[in-house]
C-alpha cells in the first residue's frame, strides 16, 4: 500500500500531506510512493530520524543549518533521465552535464551542512566528489558548466581563432560588402563546427567517466529525496506539536489527540478546540453521545493518526501509543456510491460485509460511523448488535459510533460528555455551539444513549411547530 493510494480515502489525511514543506520534486515523488510500514524496526528507524531533526530544529544554531539544507534541497532537480542516458552511453549536452554537476556540488554541500548540524551519523549521503571533479576540471567549485578548455588542449586554440575572427568581423562589418561578410561568416561557421566536434569527443569521454558513478548518482538522488521528506516531517511535527508514537501490542492510546485541519480552522476563527484523550484495545468500543458531539471527527482523527504513524510520520497528539495494523478501514458513510446505483444503506452494508470477511485474516483499525442509520430502527439495531458481537471477538480494533441504546453487547463503551449545562451563559447559536460542548470521553456502563436530538434542533433554531409536534409525539 502506497501513500498515493490512500490519499483520497480521507481528506483530513490529504490536508496533513499538503501542509508538508517539501522542497524538491524528487522529495514529493518519494512522498507519494511511501510504503505502509508494519514492522516496528522500520518505523522506529524513521521516527528516530525525524526526532533527530526535530531536536536540531529546537536549537537556533542548528535550526539555521537545517534551513540552509532545505534551501539547497530546493535546487535539486530530478535527473533520473540524464542518469539513464549516461548508462546508455548517450552523449550529454551542456545542460545535462550542468545538472549532474549541480547535483554533485549540492549533495556535497548538503552533506557538509548536515555534518555541521550534527546529523552526520544518519545522513549517509554517498560522496560525489569524484563526479564533481570530473565536471569541474578547473576546480572552480561553482555550479556553471561548459566544455572547459582544460578538457582538451585543441579547444583553446580553436576558440581563440574563433574569437579573433568574430571580433574582426564585428569591428569591420560596416566596411565589408555583403559577399565578404557572408564569406567571413562561413569561415566562422567552419571553425565553430570544428569546435563542436572536439566538444563531442570530450562529451563522449566525460560520459564514459561518469558511467562508473551512475549507481552513486541514483543513490544520492534517493537519499536527498528522503532527507527532504524527513526534514518536512520534522518541520511539521514542530509546527503542529506532534509526537513520536510508542509501539505496543495491546493498545492504541492518545493523550491530547487533535485533528490538524479542524484545529487549524477553529483557531483561525478564534474558536476553542478541545483535544481528546482516548485509549482502545482489541475488540469493539462503542461510542455514544449527543449529535454534534464530535463522534465522526474522533473516528476520522483516529484513522489519520494511525495512517500518519504507519507511513513514518509523527502523530497529532501530545503522547501516543499505537498497535501496528495491516490497514485502516473507514466506514464513515460519506462515500459517493450513488454513481454505482447503490443506496446509502446498500453501499454501507457492503463495506461492513467486507470488513467482517476480512477481519478474520487481517488486523485492522476499523472505524464505523453510525452503522445502519439509514434503515428501519428495529433491523438497524439488530445489525449493529451483530457487527459489535462479531467484531468483538476478532483481532481487529473496532470503533463504532451509534445512537441505538440497549444493545446488550458486552463490550467497552465510551460516551462523549456533551452539553455542559451549568456553564451556559448567553445564547447558543449554531456558530458558537461548540463552545458549550465538552468533548471529553468517559467510560459508560449504562446501556442507554443520550436523548438530546430535540434540544439540539431547538438550539439550531428549527421551526417551533416542528419541535412541539415532535415533543407531543414523544410524550404520547
Amino acid at each position: 500500500m502506497l501513500l498515493k493510494d490512500v490519499l483520497t480515502i480521507e481528506s483530513g489525511l490529504k490536508y496533513c500531506i499538503d501542509e508538508l514543506n517539501i522542497q524538491s520534486g524528487v522529495g514529493r515523488n518519494y512522498l507519494m510512493n511511501l510504503r505502509w510500514k508494519t514492522t516496528p524496526q522500520d518505523l522506529e528507524w524513521e521516527w528516530t530520524f525525524v526526532e533527530e531533526i526535530v531536536k536540531q530544529m529546537q536549537n537556533n544554531e542548528t535550526a539555521k543549518l537545517v534551513g540552509n539544507i532545505q534551501h539547497k534541497l530546493s535546487g535539486i532537480h530530478n535527473i533520473k533521465q540524464t542518469i539513464q542516458n549516461i548508462e546508455n552511453g548517450d552523449l550529454l549536452d551542456d545542460v545535462q552535464l550542468f545538472e549532474v554537476k549541480n547535483l554533485a556540488l549540492l549533495s556535497i554541500e548538503i552533506a557538509s551542512l548536515a555534518k555541521e548540524a550534527g546529523l552526520d551519523l544518519l545522513f549517509l549521503i554517498p560522496d560525489l566528489s569524484e563526479v564533481a571533479a570530473i565536471l569541474d576540471p578547473d576546480h572552480n567549485n561553482i555550479a556553471h558548466f561548459y566544455i572547459y578548455e582544460s578538457y582538451d588542449p585543441r579547444l583553446a586554440e580553436v576558440r581563440n581563432s574563433l574569437k579573433q575572427l568574430t571580433n574582426n568581423l564585428d569591428s569591420r562589418r560596416n566596411t565589408l560588402s555583403e559577399q565578404e561578410v557572408a564569406e567571413w561568416e562561413a569561415q566562422i561557421t567552419d571553425i565553430y563546427n570544428i569546435n563542436q566536434s572536439i566538444e563531442d569527443e570530450v562529451r563522449k569521454a566525460l560520459v564514459t567517466k561518469l558511467s562508473r558513478h551512475t549507481l552513486m548518482l541514483k543513490a544520492v538522488l534517493e537519499r536527498l529525496a528522503y532527507i527532504d521528506l524527513s526534514i518536512a516531517k520534522a518541520e511539521q511535527a514542530t509546527r503542529w506539536s506532534m509526537c513520536r508514537p510508542n509501539i505496543s501490542n495491546t493498545t492504541i492510546a492518545y493523550t491530547n489527540l487533535f485533528n490538524p485541519r479542524l484545529k487549524h480552522t477553529l483557531t483561525e476563527r478564534k474558536q476553542r478546540y478541545q483535544n481528546i484523550d482516548i485509549n482502545i484495545s482489541q475488540g469493539v468500543c462503542l461510542i455514544t453521545g449527543a449529535n454534534m458531539a464530535g463522534k465522526t471527527v474522533l473516528l476520522k482523527t483516529m484513522g489519520i493518526a494511525q495512517m500518519l504513524a504507519q507511513f513514518g510520520f509523527f502523530v497529532p497528539a501530545q503522547e501516543a501509543t499505537i498497535t501496528l495494523m495491516d490497514k485502516v478501514v473507514f466506514c464513515i458513510g460519506d462515500e459517493q456510491n450513488e454513481m454505482n446505483g447503490l443506496s446509502s444503506f446498500a453501499s454501507e452494508i457492503l463495506k461492513i460485509n467486507e470488513v467482517v470477511q476480512e477481519s478474520d485474516r487481517r488486523k485492522m483499525l476499523v472505524l464505523i460511523d453510525e452503522p445502519a442509520r439509514t434503515t428501519n430502527p428495529t433491523e438497524g439495531k439488530a445489525i449493529v448488535q451483530a457487527i459489535a458481537s462479531i467484531m468483538n471477538h476478532r483481532n481487529s480494533y473496532c470503533l463504532i459510533t451509534t445512537h441505538y441504546s440497549h444493545l446488550g453487547i458486552d463490550c467497552r463503551k465510551l460516551r462523549v460528555k456533551g452539553f455542559a449545562d451549568t456553564e451556559i451563559t448567553g445564547t447558543i447559536t449554531p456558530q458558537n455551539i461548540n463552545q458549550y460542548m465538552d468533548y471529553t470521553l468517559q467510560e459508560d456502563n449504562s446501556d442507554s444513549v443520550p436523548h438530546e436530538a430535540l434540544r439540539i434542533a431547538e438550539i439550531l433554531n428549527c421551526n417551533p411547530e416542528l419541535i412541539t409536534t415532535a415533543k407531543n409525539f414523544l410524550e404520547n
Binding site: D94, V95, A143, H144, R159, T166, D170
Partner: protein, 338 residues
C-alpha cells in the same frame, strides 16, 4: 549613436512591436551592439518565442540575435542547444516550458542564438530582479508578436516601440495607428503621489476617489459587471480607478454618464487599456480624461519600412512624418546601423 545614452538610466528595457515584423529583432541587435561598445553589462531574454530563423507566423526570413562576450541570456533548452555561440550554463530552471526548461547562460564568444523566454510577466519580473541582484547594468526583454504587456512599467523601466509597414502599408494609416499607441503610452501619470500609493495597493476591483482623496471600494469585482450595478458608481466622487483591464465597453458606458466632463478614469498603466481609437476619441471629445498610475518611459520609436507582405514604404519620408506627428525622433532600424 541615437538614444543609446538614454538607456544607461534604466535597469530594464522592453522592445515591443505594434505588430509582427516591425523590426524588433533588428532594433535589438542594434541596441546590443552599441551596449557592447559601451561596455555595459547586459542580460537578454524574451517573452514567449522569438528570434526564430523563420518567422513563426508568416514564414518569412528573420534576423537572428547576436550576443557578445560577457552578456548573460535566458533561452529555452531547445534553443540553447541550437545556439551558434560559445557559452556556459549558469542556471537551469526547474519549470518546464513548451520548449523545455529555461537556461541561463553567459556568452564566452559572440555569436547567434534564438531567444525564447518565460511565458508570464511575473516570471520576467523575477528574472530582471535576479540580473539586477547579480550586478548587471541592464536587462533587455525582446517582445513577441504584438504583446505589449511587458512594456508595463511594473515589468520594465523603459521601452522602445517598433512600428512599420507591417502595421499598415498606407503611410497615413501607419502614422494614425502609431500616434494612437504613442498617445496611450504618454497618458499623464496622476500627480497626487499619496493617491498613487493608495491605489497601487488595490490589485483587483473598481474604486472611486472622493474630493478628500479617500478611496472607496465599489464592491464591483470587474468592469464586465459594471452594467449590473444598480447604484450610481460616481456616488463618492468623479474619479474612477479600474485595477484591471479597461475596454471599449467601459469607455462607452462612462460616456453615457452625465458627469462625463468631470470624469477621470485611472488605469494602472497603458498596457491595461484595450480600446480602439474611435471609442477613445469619442470619450475624450466628450470631456472624459484618462490617467495612469505609472507612465511608461518611451526611449525611442523605431520603424521598419518593409512589411512581410513585400510592401515597402519610403523610409525617409515615413521617419520624418512620424517624427513630426509624434514630436519625438523616429529611426529606421535598417539604416540606424550606418
Amino acid at each position: 549613436m541615437p538614444f543609446i545614452a538614454d538607456l544607461q538610466k534604466y535597469k530594464s528595457l522592453s522592445i515591443v512591436g505594434m505588430d509582427k515584423n516591425t523590426g524588433k529583432t533588428v532594433c535589438l541587435n542594434y541596441v546590443l551592439g552599441r551596449l557592447k561598445d559601451l561596455g555595459i553589462k547586459t542580460a537578454v531574454t524574451s517573452i514567449g518565442i522569438d528570434g526564430e530563423r523563420i518567422d513563426q507566423v508568416f514564414g518569412s526570413h528573420k534576423p537572428e540575435i547576436t550576443l557578445y562576450e560577457g552578456m548573460q541570456f535566458i533561452t529555452s533548452e531547445k534553443h540553447y542547444n541550437t545556439r551558434q555561440l560559445l557559452s556556459k550554463v549558469t542556471a537551469v530552471d526547474s519549470e518546464r516550458t513548451a520548449l523545455g526548461r529555461l537556461i541561463t547562460a553567459e556568452v564566452l564568444c559572440s555569436g547567434k542564438v534564438l531567444l525564447s523566454g518565460a511565458g508570464t510577466t511575473e516570471k520576467l519580473r523575477r528574472q530582471i530582479e535576479h540580473f539586477k541582484a547579480t550586478g548587471l547594468d541592464i536587462t533587455i526583454i525582446d517582445g513577441a508578436l504584438s504583446r505589449l504587456s511587458l512594456a508595463s512599467p511594473s515589468v520594465t523601466d523603459a521601452m522602445i516601440l517598433c512600428t512599420g509597414a507591417a502595421v499598415s502599408p498606407n503611410l497615413r494609416q501607419l502614422i494614425q495607428k502609431t500616434r494612437f499607441t504613442f498617445e496611450l503610452i504618454n497618458l499623464p501619470e496622476i500627480a497626487d503621489k499619496e493617491l498613487q500609493t493608495k491605489l497601487s495597493a488595490h490589485r483587483s476591483g473598481l474604486w472611486t476617489v472622493d474630493n478628500e482623496g479617500e478611496v472607496h471600494n465599489l464592491e464591483i469585482p470587474s468592469v464586465f459587471l459594471l452594467e449590473k450595478s444598480t447604484q450610481d458608481i460616481f456616488r463618492y466622487g468623479h474619479t474612477l480607478y479600474v485595477s484591471g483591464a479597461a475596454s471599449d465597453k467601459l469607455l462607452k458606458y462612462l460616456s453615457t454618464k452625465k458627469n462625463i466632463a468631470e470624469q477621470t478614469l485611472i488605469v494602472r498603466d497603458f498596457t491595461k487599456l484595450f480600446v480602439t481609437p474611435e471609442v477613445y476619441a469619442a470619450y475624450t471629445k466628450k470631456g472624459g480624461r484618462i490617467q495612469v498610475l505609472q507612465q511608461s518611459k518611451l526611449v525611442a520609436v523605431c520603424l521598419n519600412p518593409t512589411s512581410s507582405h513585400g510592401y515597402t514604404i519610403d523610409s525617409a519620408e515615413a521617419c520624418l512624418r512620424l517624427s513630426e506627428a509624434l514630436g519625438v525622433p523616429t529611426w529606421d532600424v535598417c539604416k540606424i546601423k550606418q
